[in-house]
């Protein structure tokens, strides 16, 4: 059963919509969303492989403490997806 994150429509309106590129795939993002949120909404939950066992890891603590959500953004490695805002056309590599 695939996980099914979805944007909440109730009580909020969103700003600009643009695209970011994750492993070559174009996905939707809104102004104010972190890279982690945009990826979640696109069904991407496994952000990296663990060091020894190569098991899938994704967002865990959500506030920038656990360092599990590290991805490469515009060539810079080890960027935390949960606290880094999406920017139009930014390039994310998992």
């Amino acid at each position: 059963m695939a996980a099914n994150a979805q944007r909440i429509k109730k009580d909020v309106s969103r700003g600009d919509c643009f695209e970011i590129i994750v492993n070559g795939r174009r996905i939707k993002a809104y102004e104010g969303e972190t890279i982690g949120t945009a990826m979640m909404a696109a069904g991407l939950y496994a952000l990296r492989s663990s060091k020894e066992k190569k098991e899938p890891r994704g967002i865990f603590c959500g506030i920038g403490v656990c360092q599990e959500c590290r991805v490469t953004v515009n060539g810079v490695p080890n960027i935390q997806a949960c606290k880094t805002l999406s920017t139009p056309e930014c390039c994310v590599e998992l």
Binding site: M1, A2, A3, N4, A5, Q6, R7, I8, K10, D11, V12, S13, R14, G15, D16, Y30, E31, G32, E33, T34, T37, M40, A41, Y45, A46, L47, S50, K51, E52, K53, E55, P56, R57, G58, I59, F60, C61, G62, I63, G64, V65, C66, Q67, E68, R70, N78, C82, L85
Partner: protein, 470 residues
């Protein structure tokens, strides 16, 4: 080098209320906040781009935050607020090193206030590292601030009233919750207790509403239940829950499987004490307060003269306590710096102390219910990951833990536990509890991991380009 009369680390309720109190007394205040805007976790403000169409949507917490923001705005011009500032070291001679916008800088302070907050307690069990297993705080951040439901079918597992707040928010956002597990040994008076707690927070009406929402949605609250395992391939697909005894140990033959895609772990918070430990403040251990807490005077001063600590980072006690402690410390620091107390501040100090005592008395009961029991750390099996960064399993450390005289630093050095990017924040609290429960012949408080700067990862190039006074 920059200078500050009072440097405050942390932009949550503790730090901000201290800043406001100090600024009111005429103190030159600098705030170093990791976030983009003040509010910390509990009063986190929406990112630019999101607009609330229903002001009540952020919940009661947020209203309290708005009050604080208003106070802050009144003295804003007297405060040097540095956002996106990550403190990476505290050094002798009253120096703080921080990174901001890819530059490393130094501040020399006269007095220092550390309000570094807390984070969700990591609890290891088979499958806890699967994508889809989140902390309650992380889930709450996603729902409240990023306006995204992280999954479709939820299991909430943990203890304490904050789970019910999360449940309410999830249900309002359209989530389907399979169950809320309360692992604590709560009796029928629990609901009354919750209401009393909420009443103390000023949420009396809301408390009832949360329970009503949960009941109306048909979500079962299962007391004395724990999550024992998460199963799935690339994501969570199933959760195994079980009944526990009063020590939170799984009772034989009570396991049940639930189909869920998201698990929210809400076992309370643990203190962020990297900075107070780096500053060489004395600490004592109390796992009812979130682990190590700095030893403090009545005015929130640590054992290091001129260094104060307030809020969840000095003992998990919630935002109301943080606000009161912050104000007390702000006033005390101002006095220590030779500033005359602001009008009405002396009276305020006594009132604040009273408020604090009341809060703590009420919290004690709830804290006791939710204080981790040994069973919480007996869920790990051989292959369960203990150190998430380095992929160290329970099997690799379980014999070591029982060695006489062993401590967390020994385990770190020989197994790599704690050597990862999170700086031991995830595995440190786990190791301490494992040593307490399974370790041999150690009475008193087990030592935790060491802390060495930089306490947060900082790019080498930033450290190299550090702007210094040398």
């Amino acid at each position: 080098m920059e200078k500050a009369e009072l440097a405050i680390i942390g932009g949550g309720p503790g730090g901000i209320s201290a800043a406001v109190a100090a600024a009111e007394s005429g103190v030159n205040v600098t705030i170093l906040d990791e976030n983009a805007r003040i509010g910390g976790q509990i009063f986190r403000q929406l990112e630019k781009g999101f607009t609330l169409t229903n002001p009540k949507a952020m919940g009661r917490d947020y209203q309290k935050g708005v009050d604080l923001f208003r106070q802050f705005k009144q003295v804003e011009s007297r405060i040097n607020y540095l956002n996106h500032a990550t403190v990476w070291g505290i050094f002798d001679h009253h120096r703080i090193a921080y990174e901001r916008n890819r530059k490393s800088k130094t501040i020399e302070y006269k007095n220092l206030l550390i309000a570094s907050g807390a984070y969700d307690r990591p609890v290891p069990f088979p499958g806890w590292t699967l994508p889809g297993v989140l902390t309650a705080g992380g889930a709450q951040n996603l729902v409240k601030n990023q306006r995204i439901l992280p999954g479709k079918k939820f299991l909430l597992a943990g203890t304490g009233p904050l789970q019910l707040v999360l449940a309410h928010q999830l249900i309002q956002a359209g989530a389907d919750i399979a169950a809320i597990l309360e692992v604590g040994d709560v009796k029928g008076s629990w609901l009354k207790l919750m209401q009393g707690m909420w009443g103390n927070w000023g949420y009396a009406g809301d408390g009832l509403q949360y329970l009503q929402t949960i009941r109306k949605a048909g979500v079962p609250i299962m007391r004395n239940h724990i999550i024992a395992r998460a199963n799935g391939n690339q994501n969570v697909e199933k959760a195994v829950i079980a009944r526990v005894d009063k020590d939170w140990r799984v009772i034989h033959n009570t396991r049940k499987s639930l189909n869920v895609d998201t698990v929210c772990l809400g076992y309370g918070l643990v203190t962020s004490t990297e900075l107070t430990r780096l500053a060489q403040c004395d600490h004592e251990y109390d796992n009812g307060l979130g682990g190590y807490v700095p030893v403090r005077s009545e005015t929130m001063e640590t054992t290091q003269k001129g260094i104060f600590a307030v809020g969840d980072g000095a003992g998990v006690a919630g935002s109301q306590v943080a606000l009161a402690e912050g104000r007390i410390a702000g006033i005390a620091a101002s006095q220590a710096l030779g500033h005359a107390p602001g009008v009405g501040q002396k009276k305020t100090l006594a009132e604040l102390q009273k408020k604090l005592t009341r809060h703590h008395r009420l919290r004690k009961v709830l804290d006791e219910i939710s204080r981790p029991r040994p069973g919480l750390y007996e869920l790990a099996e051989d292959e369960t990951i203990i150190c998430r960064c380095e992929d160290v399993t329970f099997k690799q450390i379980k014999t070591l833990i029982q060695k006489e005289g062993i401590n967390a630093k020994d385990i770190k050095r020989t197994t790599r536990v704690g050597m990862g990017s999170c700086g031991g924040r995830m595995c440190g609290p786990i190791l301490i509890e494992l040593l307490r429960n399974l370790g041999s012949q150690i009475s008193g408080q087990p030592e935790g991991l060491n802390v060495r700067p930089p306490v947060k990862p900082i790019p080498l190039g930033v450290l190299a380009g550090a702007e210094n006074n040398e």
